[in-house]
Point group: C2
Amino acid sequence: MLTIGDMAKTTGVKVPTIRYYEQMGLLSHAERSEGNQRRYSRSERDRLSFIKHARELGLTIEAIRELIDLSQHPEKPCAEADRIAAEQLATVRQKIAKLKKLEAELERISTHCHSNHVRDCYVIRALANHDLCETDHD
Amino acid sequence: MLTIGDMAKTTGVKVPTIRYYEQMGLLSHAERSEGNQRRYSRSERDRLSFIKHARELGLTIEAIRELIDLSQHPEKPCAEADRIAAEQLATVRQKIAKLKKLEAELERISTHCHSNHVRDCYVIRALANHDLCETDHD
DNA sequence: CTAAAACCTCTAGCGGCTTTAGCTGCAAGA
DNA sequence: TCTTGCAGCTAAAGCCGCTAGAGGTTTTAG
């Protein structure tokens, strides 16, 4: 049996976060030692790794909960799991697209200013005046 | 004089958000009507647009506060403003890099699954098993 | 046996808002 | 003039996904 510290060490998820996941229902209530400390099996550690990996990919707690529920029902069709992954992919792509616009504008702003005083600073002027933008970031 | 609603309409910043910005010290305490409603001048609206634009670019409230303070002192050197913009650019670039890794992995995961049941679902297996990853997203 | 490390619960805090509850202000139509 | 209904007000709580701290208990190493 693993202590919560062992779990933390082997998965890289911090101890308070593990307790948080239990509270959120991603991990079931762990068995307890006589002294009320959590004890985990290897399969619970695997589930924690699953959760960690999913979080690293940006999935919400809610989405992970759905995936865990799904994985408890191996006979169900996996279209649902596909949908969750695909949605996340779409979200990530949107974020990339948006950040690229920001990158372009910030680049322009911060390479443009050759003045010495705030009075003429391009950074400040660009922020004050959206018309100086080339792209239509929202 | 503009009401808070007018401000919201012309800048696209929601009414409660405007009040929040005032609380955070980005907007100064607005004048009030006899009936205690906020009344704004055009220059306050311009400042709100500035804030909005900066937020869209991902600047934190704190960074925006610094920029506003700077813009009140036109004779100061603008190196500080440049630094803020450049830092934000670096942050944005980091985020893009990370998201691209996620995109690659999600793409692989969600195009890989041709099974019908959760039992064999690649999405679920990939999440359970980090070894299936090609990149070393953190 | 003791000291230290690890564990426990509970609560509060982060950023950047959004929402809710319960009020008051104000303009336009009957 | 009255009323209706939108707009505004304040204060406080809620959201996400943790993280940190206080103050106590259990486990482990020596």
